[in-house]
Symmetry: C2
Subunit: 400 residues, 2 copies
């Protein structure tokens, strides 16, 4: 097939990568290892939570109507039947006119329907003076009020946060079924690329892309597998991609910043499978290649790290999310644009910005500079339909 | 010393935890394992980046003045001296009236000071017609333009992002010096608390706090060490805390939701060291205990997970950041309040909210409910100096 397809929109490129995301296995992990994993099955409450009516305060379990009209001046007097111990299997019972001391989280005795805070009561011998009335249900959580047995509490596709892990524990999910961690093969190509440990000679640059891509996919819950630097030779690159396909779920080939090199990457993908996209209406990031081989996505990234990063954010992120069975999660911020951003209709531009006091300041420096990656706080997307954004406009900053 | 100190402000509590954060060792790790670690030393560029003048386009390296006045109608004609190969040690040289093909990222030949995009040139035999003039420096990044040798590129205290990892690779940092990962001992206490694997009997609840706290500290770059559930008995708790202090840098004791239990935790901290704070003007989260023992912080968290989480966010986060030698990093969002939030002056309130279309909707449900943790998107802080926040007010939501 032709390697010189027409340039596609970012939206189309995202649709293509979503379409080729291979389904992954899921498996059980212990809950304590499940942070940031993607739930592959709903988690339901196994029992009513809480399993019993409980007090939310330190105080006295009462029958609410016994406190009607109680005030500082005219307290209600109740007879104290004892104390509920934390975790005790039987909280006993109370009858009209009586109450029982209950600690925060303690079970209400049978018959009680509210709790009076200790600050609003006064114990004198076996009697308790209640200085404030309470309504039925006040200071109490009833059985199943938090979660009813059988309710879906955490849905499939959710990336488990610390809160979710805590809630999962409460509903008895000591093991959870999560999507597998995608293995992402990472290959750097280019005759000019040397290892990070080397001092680049004239015309050479260090392999920043492998590290950048590796850290990016790690942050998104994937496992990078590094296949090192491959010279810009068709058979060498083919062997490396083929080897990566043996063990990985997706392969990223970065580099090939010159046209010859880009064509080489596309040719290798075509040899091993099919090139679906060669060129995206995206700046920086136009030379992106999207293909499949042996049922797995192979993505060609631009050679310069700053461009590669935009492609990772704009396109690869969607692929990884689709493989994990979840939505792309982005930190965004609204800010006012401090300067015009000119753009070209028909191309999606990603402009690095720094954000100060609610204002987004475009960093226009040459896109080939790494220092803009460090100095910026995020990127602003200029849609393909726009000829630019104007100073003062409210923009959404995708935070790094 | 007294266990019944007066309640302190959240600001004071944060100051106290920062003051007792123990200094941790730092050490070297391979760059590929350094994501989200905290830099313990500045990273400087070891050499000029790039190490040579390079083209940012596929095209022709030229002497800019040779193109002055060039246009579609009247192109400049230059003699092509050949091609620069990617990574070749010598890019050769050009003289006035000549040019040389150079790929994106390729080194400029000596004498050249600009590059003409291939789209604006036409090669005919050994001659190249240039259809557009370029200024000196156009389409070129000069040696050291990105980073000068010796410049600090990434500063101590920075939490390494994927971008930072990529940039560190470019400047030769194959190993980086990072702060140690704090070891956080986690103990759950309370006679009512049963393991996640158990089905709670009457009056019992599962140990959600250990999982919640463990996941929270993991997300903040710390390693949780679980010491299980301890009954609410002074000697048992003392033994557990003491054992945690043997191997951990900080100990979190969650639980003790009732007053008796809270006093027990405080008494144990006093036995082993010193209670510095017993009670914070924070809702939920008032019963927080801050102490030290054997030079390490021991923090008593409230018994209910929803309250524990607020204390983790409002106070413990600052302790962990201080131990790692970095700033607290928060995702925040500005939103308009959809409803009034009443509050009490002198106490900092944290109210869970869900955010929809730029509006923050307070979730007032009882603070003892876990479902509000799952349903909310973050919390709004009502400062101690305020009697509440009003509908329509712009508030900062601390996103979960």
């Amino acid at each position: 097939m032709s390697l010189f397809l027409s340039v596609v929109s970012v939206g189309k490129a995202v649709e293509v990568v979503r379409g080729i995301a291979p389904p992954l296995e899921s498996g059980d992990v212990p809950l304590e290892n499940a942070l940031h994993r993607v739930l592959a099955e709903d988690i339901r409450a196994d029992i009513d939570i809480p399993g019993f009516d409980r007090s939310t305060v330190d105080g006295y379990a009462v029958i609410a109507t016994d406190t009607t009209g109680a005030s500082e001046a005219i307290p209600a007097m109740l007879s104290c039947q004892g104390r509920v111990g934390m975790g005790s299997a039987d909280a006993g019972s109370i009858t009209p006119g009586s109450c029982c001391y209950v600690p925060t989280g303690g079970a209400l005795p049978r018959g009680a329907d509210a709790a009076v805070m200790i600050e609003h009561a006064e114990q004198i011998g076996d009697d308790v003076l209640v200085h404030r009335s309470v309504a039925p249900g006040e200071n109490v959580i009833t059985r199943g009020e938090d979660f009813r047995a059988g309710t879906v509490v955490l849905e499939r596709g959710r990336v488990l946060s610390p809160r979710d892990i805590g809630v999962a524990a409460a509903i008895g999910a000591d093991r959870v079924t999560v999507a597998a961690v995608p293995r992402v093969g990472i290959i750097s190509t280019g005759n000019e690329v040397v290892p990070v440990t080397a001092t680049p000679g004239p015309g050479e640059v260090r392999d920043a892309n492998s590290y950048l891509a590796g850290a990016f996919v790690t942050e998104r819950g994937c496992r990078p597998v590094y296949f090192g630097i491959v010279r810009d030779e068709r058979e060498a690159l083919k062997a490396a991609v083929s080897s990566a396909l043996d063990t990985c779920d997706v392969v990223l080939v970065s580099g090939g910043s010159s046209k010859d090199e880009r064509d080489n990457t596309a040719a290798v993908v075509a040899d091993l499978g099919e090139v679906l996209v060669h060129g995206v209406a995206l700046a920086p990031g136009k030379p992106t290649i999207i293909g499949t081989a042996r049922g797995r996505p192979v993505i060609g990234l631009p050679g310069h790290p700053a461009s590669t990063f935009v492609v990772l954010v704009a396109i690869v992120d969607h692929l990884l999310a689709a493989m994990r069975g979840t939505a792309v999660s982005r930190r965004t911020l609204s800010a006012r644009l401090k300067q015009n951003i000119p753009s070209t209709r028909g191309r999606e531009d990603y402009v690095r910005v720094s954000v100060r006091d609610g204002e987004a300041v475009p960093i226009f420096g040459k896109s080939g500079l790494l220092n803009t990656l460090v100095q910026s706080d995020g990127i602003v997307r200029v849609p393909a339909s726009s000829e630019g954004l104007e100073v003062g406009e409210e923009v959404e900053v995708i935070l790094w």
